[in-house]
């Protein structure tokens, strides 16, 4: 038997929106078929009448509680629901929502930060719009993302150049601005050298060597690996040169690049000639000095004697017969540099980033003869993290290479600094020990392993600690990639040490 309950609560008040919600909550109570809790305004009384309720006289300052119930027994629960809902409406939701919202765009984040620099590492297809947010806010941007279409790189660099802003990247791994390392960057002391780098690990090698020589760095501005290509024409390098030239604390500038387009290199050199700050170019290529030699030349400019570059461990011992050199790199420029050096002595080097197209490796990354692999190349980082963060792929390949009887020496790089693995030696040292042991199990001498360990004394991972852990596993360790490469070449050509 259905029942009705109508009561007037004189002087009770809640706002109309709160009461709509109270009504909804009460109507959802078991045993209640209809509920309207409302101030007794003319409009609400009309609504109540259309719902079929008969109402006693009431003023707009009274609250009406009108309930239709399945039967009388539901009344107590329904009234309790009314009181609970009214109490909840007064208190609001004690759970409360979040009053702040996260920034969803780089524009928003820069607005909140009050300006600064943007660091973009979203998927390549979405990098441009985040970078444009920075340029629109009058800020420089570093783009770590790779796989950014070339025409997009060109579009944003043209706009940036017009506005005097710097686009570091895309595919820029390393920058140091005011002593702050961005991306994969080493901890360096402040100083008077400014670096423009179209090469992340090349820049890191230079930072490491300068640190070892006791020379500080004012800034290292990455420009992205394609900046000195014919298509991009060095747009970011020009702005980076302007910036460093205008910075009173910069007294010498070093430009580092993977092999550039010759006309772009020539134009940049001409431009640099017009600046007030001396500029040295360290441009990798066949027949060009390696990075270590370039740093030594820069030290000469600075009037600083080049030190003996640090090494750790005993010189590796080879079989004396030589064989194939297998280089497994996380740094693209380090791989490039090693190939340029090795090709002069050993001839063709197969690679996933070959010096000439006919030397390209297939997807197995295995082939007879000398071979060097860049595990940080775009083709090997799709769908997985960079090998400086996730070493799995290289460690697997190290075991494969060690099992190959043709391998006479393994050349590796380890790159320290912000952004890289917390403790790369923790994974690599056991893998090196296993690789060496794989050879002795078959009765031969241990497989020689030479490592270029690129880092500075103040890097979070600890340069000495990392080098010593690798030495303990049987590796010969160098700070200079060129020096490490030369040792590997010697071992591959039959030198025992």
């Amino acid at each position: 038997m259905s029942a009705e309950h109508v009561e007037i609560r004189a002087g009770a008040y809640a706002d109309s929106v709160a009461l709509l919600q109270v009504s909804r909550d009460v109507a959802a109570t078991p045993g209640v078929t209809a509920a309207q809790v409302a101030m007794a305004t003319e409009l609400n009384l009309e609504v109540l009448a259309t719902m079929g309720f008969t109402l006693p006289p009431a003023s707009p300052n009274d609250m009406v509680v009108a309930l239709r119930l399945e039967d009388e027994t539901a009344l107590a629960a329904a009234l309790a629901a009314v009181d609970a809902a009214l109490a909840a409406a007064r208190k609001g939701d004690p759970g409360g929502g979040q009053v702040t919202v996260p920034a969803r765009t780089t524009a928003s984040a820069l607005r909140r930060a009050g300006g600064g620099l943007a660091l973009v590492s979203v998927p390549g297809a979405s990098a441009l719009v985040e970078a444009m947010d920075a340029l629109d806010a009058g800020c420089d941007v570093m783009i770590f993302s790779d796989n950014v279409p070339l025409e997009q790189e060109l579009a944003m660099k043209r706009i940036a150049r017009q506005r005097g802003l710097l686009v570091m990247g895309p595919d820029c791994g390393t920058a140091v601005v005011g002593g702050v390392g961005l991306g994969f960057a080493n901890t360096v002391a402040p100083g008077k050298v400014g670096i423009v780098a179209a090469s992340g690990t090349g820049c890191q090698q230079v930072l490491a060597l300068l640190d070892a020589a006791g020379v500080g760095v004012a800034a290292a501005l990455g420009v992205g690996g394609r900046d000195l290509s014919a298509a991009v024409g060095g747009l970011s390098s020009l702005t980076a040169l302007d910036r460093l030239d205008a910075d009173p604390s910069v007294e010498h500038i070093l430009v580092i690049s993977k092999p550039p387009a010759p006309e772009v290199a020539a134009a940049l050199e001409e431009y640099a000639g017009g600046l007030g700050t001396p500029v040295r170019f360290a441009l990798l290529g066949a027949g060009q000095p390696d990075l270590t030699a370039q740093v030594e030349a820069l030290l000469g400019d600075l009037g600083v004697a080049a030190p003996t570059w640090p090494t750790w461990g005993e010189p590796a011992v080879g079989s004396g017969e030589g064989g194939a050199l297998r280089g497994l790199f996380v740094g693209g420029t380090l791989c490039d540099e090693a190939m340029l050096l090795a090709a002069e002595e050993l001839g063709p080097i197969r690679s996933n980033i070959p010096l000439s197209p006919e030397l390209a490796l297939d997807a197995s990354l295995l082939s007879p003869g000398h071979m060097m692999i860049d595990f940080g190349d775009d083709g090997l980082t799709r769908g997985r993290a960079h090998p400086m963060i996730d070493p799995t792929l290289r460690l697997e390949h190290l075991a494969r290479v060690a099992a190959d009887a043709e391998t006479s020496v393994v050349l590796l790089d380890v790159v320290l600094g912000h952004g890289a693995e917390d403790d790369p030696a923790a994974g690599l040292a056991p893998a090196i020990a296993a690789a060496r042991a794989a050879r002795t199990d078959r009765g031969g001498p241990p497989l020689p392993v030479v490592v270029a360990c690129v880092g500075t004394a103040a890097d979070p991972q600890g340069l000495t600690r990392q080098a010593e852990a690798l030495v303990a596993a049987g590796a010969e360790v160098h700070l200079s990639n060129a020096a490490a490469t030369r040792r590997a070449i010697a071992l591959a050509t039959g030198g025992t040490r």
Binding site: D15, V17, L20, R24, E46, L48, T50, M51, A89, G92, D93, G97, V99, T100, V101, A103, R104, T105, T106, A107, A109, R112, A113, G114, G115, G116, L117, A118, L119, S121, P123, S126, L128, V129, E130, M132, A134, G138, F144, Q152, A155, I159, G164, V177, G178, G179, V180, G181, L182, G183, T239, D242, R243, A246, D247, P248, V250, H418, G419, P460
Partner: protein
């Protein structure tokens, strides 16, 4: 060559904003520099290429800066009240409606109901029910969006020649916009009701209220100058109104400004008292001034090639449409959504018509749902809380080009209302504009059934973006 306006590279940046891998943000924070992280997510499906094309458009920034500044520079003054036949040149048989263009065959219940009521009001038919055949035939009547005639209309938004209109003007440009007078809540024409009470009220508005307001506004303009709707809107945000679903303070301020002229008018004391009671009893009266004030602002931002700013959001009860500065008068439409909210009496979701009305022009201009933080009294419309309201207003800033410093919101530490919806930002973030709205019954003649919150259909933003990208590519 350009000289750098920036700090030397040997000086650390004041902060780093990071989008992408969190480890880089962590590494920067570990070097004791302030870091602001972007909560980055992939953009709406299929938009990634168009976003890049539009973002790389060299004229986009200048165009958006211009669109936003033109919009924010507008001062909307109430300069008159006059019949639509006079100020819009509407002829008998011509009807305006809310939203993007629509014909009778696709019109929703409330739009049909309002048109039928308006036809009877204009004397085209005796009984509103007879008007259906008139509109179905379409030979003696014509339909056109309010937006195509510099006008806006709440809910069904039907305007016929005899209805009186508020006239808003920007003194700098001389441009004008128009909106009919608000009828109140409940069973009213704009919610699709067309009963005898509705028509009686419309006739009183035509014969008494309209002429009386026309006289009072003219006298006020003569004595004190035009009524500054933009300034009143700024005051409203300080007084708990968001100027879409809450217009209580605005209505009272208007009444205050007009009271002396109303009292001194040529009308009888009884009629003046009726007008006072009607306006004072209708908390939404000012909505019909807020809307054309917003339209006046947004119209100033129209037709700027390269601009991605939304200049209109409007619904006709069937379709939700937007117009964008850089794409001219083109409408991008999708199905109007059902609001999520609270219902009057026995009404429930099944009784509600999809979203309807030009009133989303308030959100387009940065108030309404965008200024929810200013109106905590109405946040419970969707079971929301005051923190939700604060978060909503802040979230809307993620999709706008700027803020309106004439409209500061006290509880947000006087941040200006988030203004100038950016199509690109909507597609990037997937954040849809939040609209506060009334709900009309879906059957013609029912009237209002509730109120709540609604968003546009997501698809119309990628559609607008695609057209912007096509125009960018065409410019080369």
């Amino acid at each position: 060559m350009t000289s750098s306006p920036l700090a030397a590279p040997s000086i650390p940046p004041v902060a780093v904003a990071t989008a992408g891998a969190d480890m880089f943000a962590t590494a920067v924070a570990a070097q004791a520099l302030p870091v602001e992280r972007v909560d980055w997510r992939p953009p709406m499906d299929g938009t990634v290429e168009d976003i890049a094309v539009v973002a790389a458009d060299p004229i986009r920034k200048t165009a958006n800066d211009l669109a936003l500044s033109r919009m924010l520079d507008v001062q909307a003054l109430l300069v008159g009240v006059a019949p639509a036949s006079e100020v819009l040149g509407l002829e008998p048989g011509q009807f305006l409606h809310a939203g993007p263009p629509i014909a009778w065959d696709r019109a929703s219940g409330p739009l049909r109901g309002a048109l039928m009521g308006a036809a009877a009001f204009e004397g085209l038919v005796e009984d509103p029910e007879d008007a259906a055949a008139l509109f179905a035939a379409g030979t003696e009547v014509s339909l056109e969006p309010c937006h195509h005639r510099s006008a806006v209309g709440p809910m069904a938004g039907v305007v016929s020649p005899s209805m009186w209109m508020f006239v808003l003007e920007d003194p700098a440009s001389g441009k004008r916009t128009y909106c009919s007078l608000n009828e109140g809540l409940g069973k009213v024409l704009r919610y699709g009701a067309y009963g005898p009470d509705v028509l009686t009220r419309l006739r009183w508005m035509r014969d008494v209220l309209g002429p009386l307001l026309g006289e009072a506004v003219a006298a006020t303009v003569a004595d004190h100058g035009p009524i500054d709707a933009t300034a009143i809107l700024g005051q409203m945000l300080q007084m708990g109104d968001e100027a879409h679903n809450r217009n209580r303070a605005g209505t009272l301020m208007l009444l205050r400004d007009l009271a002396p002229a109303l009292v001194r008018s040529s009308r009888s004391a009884a009629e003046v008292a009726e007008a006072f009671a009607f306006i004072g009893g209708n908390d939404h009266f000012f909505l019909n001034i807020a809307m054309p004030a917003c339209k006046l602002m947004l119209d100033a931002g129209r037709d700027i090639p390269g601009s991605t700013m939304v200049v209109a959001m409007a619904r006709n009860g069937t379709d939700f449409g937007i117009q964008v500065s850089g794409t001219g008068d083109q409408w991008f439409t999708g199905p109007a959504q059902l609001a999520d909210g609270l219902f009057l009496g026995d009404y429930g979701p099944d009784d509600a018509n999809p979203d309807i009305g030009d009133s989303a022009i308030t959100e387009t201009a940065g108030i309404g749902g965008f200024a929810m933080a200013a109106a905590p009294a109405i946040v419970r419309f969707v079971g929301g809380t005051v923190p939700d309201a604060l978060a909503t207003s802040r979230r809307m800033r993620e999709i706008t080009l700027g803020e309106n410093n004439r409209w500061p919101i006290p509880v947000l530490d006087f941040a200006g209302a988030a203004s100038g919806i950016d199509v690109t930002a909507v597609c990037r973030t997937g954040i849809l504009p939040q609209i506060n709205t009334g709900m009309a019954g879906k059957v013609a003649g029912v009237g209002q059934v509730g109120a709540g919150l609604v968003t546009p259909p997501a698809s119309i933003f990628p559609a607008a973006l695609a057209e912007l990208a096509a125009r960018t590519r065409a410019r080369g």
